[in-house]
């Protein structure tokens, strides 16, 4: 999963990467400062900080928000998400490709024409070729990247994953004509999304089959910035890429000359440093504890962004009492979302849906389970499951155990015997995603990989995806009719019709209540007063090329 933060001392730090903010989601709050500050100014050094090393500075391996934030500034794929906030930022536009791909063969073949004269940064200094793209995708399989799951739909990828010899037959790159074609085993509208996330960013052919985060020679950029220095646990320096020239309006030049990142500042420390003017920008959220105080003292410097996130408790539909629909519905009725939002410091919006509304206008909020304890108790009585033992799983990063304890109290109120089990976050996700781990109720926080309904519905609720280990359908929800609809929706091209299908599925699945969704989190940030151009994209988060410093 895309982790919400670098692995820092999770159990101890009050850091709570789960931070959010109180303003209404979907407002794209980040742009206010741009509007007030007038025309962007070029130049200057952004002084930034991060609490721990970013996971990887290797596009093939990075699977955390901090890594993607950095790589958005340095690297490119064939496509990218529009560098904008809110639903507009979910639109896919060409990047290294000259235009959107030609789709043929009934949605099974995507043919891209690539831009000439895009150069890799020093020391490689040569043009980016279609063969580099093919190399980059194949490299994922050779380095056991967490991203291979996105690309196994390419013909021949399965075989290549086993043998790791001879290349993926379904990727046909032609450097002479500057084209590259992808042949899929079956139609998949989401393929465009997969080509816009950092796993598909281009690295030069010949890049070694290992993490290049600390290998300066191979840490090569195509975008406006490049990494000039990285010393783990100390600092990262990002400078302008001398070989970069702007090729579309979606690949901005960038205003800053340099980004100097120190590693190891705790959130509390960073907040004080920003307040004292020693720091411009911090990777992580405002600690929930500090938000009220900062907001009161520095109202114009606190920004709250809606994340494409769903936070929920799963109900394992294979484990009694949750095999019973009435029980699952009862718990949804008995859960007061406003109580849970309080536990999360009021930083987010309550929800009873699967897909977050920040994904687009199509995804309007619906409230299928208004709080109704009497009805819940009656449903439990009808199910005849009262008195059973229920284990609620949570990880130990504050305030998640508190939310789990609230769920336990809800279950107790309904007549069950609830216990809570906490695991450290580092092992929690793997443990709940194996059948042996076997939770009955478990906390899940799902940050999108790409801004599309499929990432929420298909990935987490398609019964055909249930596996023994690495299971993403953690509630083991399996309804053949729903599965068929999901498969049909996946094959559809991106657009309004497809969105409507996800909305319908959201409603139908929630009627069966495999989850207790309760929160769409927001991301509160605290920045220097002279920092502008803060644009929060749901996938890349805040984008460095948009930022600028006023004098």
């Amino acid at each position: 999963m895309r982790t919400a933060g670098p692995a820092l001392a999770a159990a101890l730090s009050a850091i709570a990467l789960v931070a959010c903010g109180g303003s209404s989601a979907g407002s794209g709050g980040g742009q206010s400062s741009t509007a007030s500050a007038g025309q962007p100014v070029n130049g200057g050094t952004l002084t930034a900080a991060i609490p721990a090393n970013p996971d990887h500075l290797d596009p093939g391996l990075s699977y955390a928000t901090e890594g993607w934030e950095l790589l958005e500034a340095t690297n490119d794929g064939l496509l990218r998400f529009k560098p904008e906030a809110g639903p507009a930022g979910a639109q896919i536009v060409p990047d290294l490709a000259t235009a959107m791909p030609k789709v043929s063969d009934g949605g099974r073949t995507y043919t891209f024409h690539m831009r000439a004269n895009v150069k890799f940064s020093p020391p490689v200094n040569r043009d980016v070729e279609p063969s580099d793209i093919k190399f980059s995708i194949e490299r994922l399989f050779r380095i056991n990247s967490g991203g291979v799951g996105f690309y196994t739909g390419i013909a021949g990828a399965d075989r290549y994953e086993k043998t790791r010899k001879g290349g993926i037959s379904g990727i046909v790159a032609d450097d002479k004509t500057h084209t590259i074609a992808f042949h899929l085993t079956k139609p998949d509208g989401t393929f465009l999304e997969y080509m816009a996330i950092p796993f598909a960013f281009a690295v030069p052919a010949g890049t070694p089959n290992r993490d290049i985060s600390t290998v300066a020679k191979w840490r090569v950029a195509t975008g406006p910035y490049m990494f000039s220095q990285y010393t783990p646990s100390q600092s990262i320096t990002i400078v302008r890429n001398p070989n970069f020239h702007q090729w579309t309006k979606y690949t901005p030049n960038g205003h800053l000359d340099k980004i100097q990142i120190t590693i190891g500042n705790s959130p509390e420390d960073a907040m004080n440093e920003i307040a004292d003017g020693q720091l411009d920008w911090y990777f992580e959220a405002v600690p929930p504890d500090r938000l009220a105080q900062l907001r009161a003292r520095y109202p114009s410097q606190v920004h709250v962004y809606p994340r494409n996130d769903i936070t929920y408790f799963l109900l394992n539909t294979r484990k009694p009492p949750f095999t019973n629909l009435k029980v699952r519905q009862a718990i949804n009725y008995a859960t007061d979302r406003t109580a849970l939002v309080k536990i999360f410091g009021g930083q987010g919006t309550p929800t009873e849906n699967i897909i977050p509304p920040s994904l687009g206008a199509a995804y309007k909020r619906q409230w299928p389970y208004p709080y109704d304890l009497a009805k819940a108790k009656q449903l439990v009585a009808e199910s005849g499951t009262k008195g059973m033992t229920v284990n609620v799983w949570s990880h130990s990063t504050d305030p998640v155990p508190k939310a789990a304890q609230y769920m336990a109290s809800v279950l107790d109120t309904l007549g069950y015997k609830a216990t809570v089990k906490t695991l450290s976050e580092g092992v929690y996700w793997d443990t709940i995603s194996t059948q042996a781990g076997d939770p009955q109720v478990a906390f899940v926080q799902f940050d999108q990989d790409y801004p599309e309904g499929q990432d929420f519905i298909d990935v987490q609720l398609n019964g055909e995806r249930i596996t023994n280990v690495g299971n993403q359908n953690t509630s083991n929800f399996d309804d053949p009719a729903i599965n068929r609809q999901i498969d049909a929706a996946r094959a559809m091209p991106l657009g309004a019709a497809r969105d409507a299908q996800w909305v319908k599925l959201d409603r139908e699945i929630m009627a069966q209540a495999p989850w207790v969704p309760f929160l769409n989190r927001t991301l509160p940030k605290f920045d220097a007063p002279n920092l502008h151009g803060l644009v929060f994209n749901g996938t890349y988060y805040e984008m460095f090329p948009e930022m600028w410093l006023s004098k």
Partner: protein, 342 residues
């Protein structure tokens, strides 16, 4: 971590007590202890803490707070100075302390009564502290008595084991063991311990601190073994078990009692540390360490949740340490050979 030696105050004398410690000796010691005002005050404080956390806690809940330690109240309100205020604000900030029956020390993030939780948390912390101290002392005696009695190979084996545990980075090991146990629980043959069981911290803490008790006792036993009354017992045909139980054990009882008192204080501190690191007592059971751990995330907006249980821990540990000090003085009036550490 250095809970190692430092948190065990002055280790008692390693020279053995006079042979034949009898009722008279204990009575004399009690007389001396009674005249040690600091120790008596500490004993009373400790007794008070035990009373408050034990029998008085349910009474407080029943007659005053009307809310048990685990009753949450995220959406309720409470009357403060004639106004209704929410127990937990919309931003998740719980109400602070105030002179009233309910929420005397304020609420925690789930709207539970912090004062009641500190009382019940004390039950857990004292249980873990005392139970692990008992287990630790028992295991230490089990190792130290034969080592000192048989000497030779047995002694070398036990001493080697002690050296080994002694050299371990204690906290790292305790944390590592707890972390893994909490994921899977323990399931070896007939022994099944659920991952949320109190037995896990009790067991881990007990094992790790065995050397602190076993080493000085082994020293005493070694010296006692040379004494005439022990040799005489053996010459009269008493078996090793009998000699250890009847002749040696009573003579190390004083040291053991002092060590036991001191290690309870130590273990309460260790429990708090483990819970703070997230590998101690399971979250549904309040313990002082747990309450601090939960409160730490909101120390800026709700500092009392961190501060109050910490003060409770300090009070308990101080009272036990002073009491232990007094006990040692009472049992060893000459106060010779007070070497610290090993």
């Amino acid at each position: 971590m250095s809970v190692q030696a430092p948190q065990l105050p002055i280790l008692p004398d390693v020279t053995p007590a006079e042979p034949g410690v009898d009722v008279g000796t204990w009575r004399a010691a009690w007389r001396r202890l009674r005249h040690n005002r600091a120790a008596m005050a500490a004993g009373i404080v400790f007794l008070g803490i035990v009373l408050w956390c034990g029998p008085l806690a349910p009474l407080w809940v029943h007659f005053v707070s009307h809310r048990g330690p685990n009753v949450q109240n995220l959406l309720g309100t409470i009357s403060v100075g004639g106004h209704r205020v929410p127990v937990v604000s919309a931003q998740g900030t719980p109400i602070g302390p105030g002179l009233r029956g309910q929420y005397l020390l304020g609420a925690d993030s789930n709207g539970r009564d912090l004062f009641v939780r500190v009382l019940y948390g004390g039950r857990t912390s004292l249980t873990v502290g005392i139970a692990s101290a008992l287990l630790c002392t028992f295991l230490a005696l089990l190792l130290a008595l034969p080592a000192g009695y048989y000497r030779g190979a047995v002694d070398r084996g036990v001493s080697g084991l002690m050296d080994l545990i002694w050299s371990f980075p204690v906290y790292l090991l305790a944390v590592a063991i707890s972390a893994t146990l909490i994921v899977g629980g323990l399931d070896i043959g007939p022994i099944k311990i659920s991952s949320s069981s109190l037995l896990i911290p009790i067991f881990v803490i007990a094992v790790v601190f065995i050397p602190y008790i076993a080493r000085p006792i082994r020293g005493e036993v070694l010296a006692l073994r040379e004494r005439e009354f022990v040799e005489a017992a053996i010459a009269h045909g008493a078996g090793p078990l009998r000699v250890m139980a009847r002749e040696i054990l009573p003579n190390v009882a004083a040291t053991t009692l002092v060590m036991f008192t001191l290690i309870i204080a130590n273990n309460i501190l260790v429990e708090a540390a483990l819970s703070f690191l997230g590998v101690g007592v399971s979250v549904l059971t309040p313990s002082w360490g747990n309450i601090i751990q939960e409160g730490y995330g909101t120390i800026v907006t709700a500092p009392w949740q961190t501060i109050a249980p910490g003060i409770a821990i300090m009070l308990t540990a101080i009272s036990l340490n002073v009491l232990g000090d007094g006990l040692r003085d009472a049992l060893d009036p000459h106060g010779s050979g007070r070497t610290g550490g090993r």
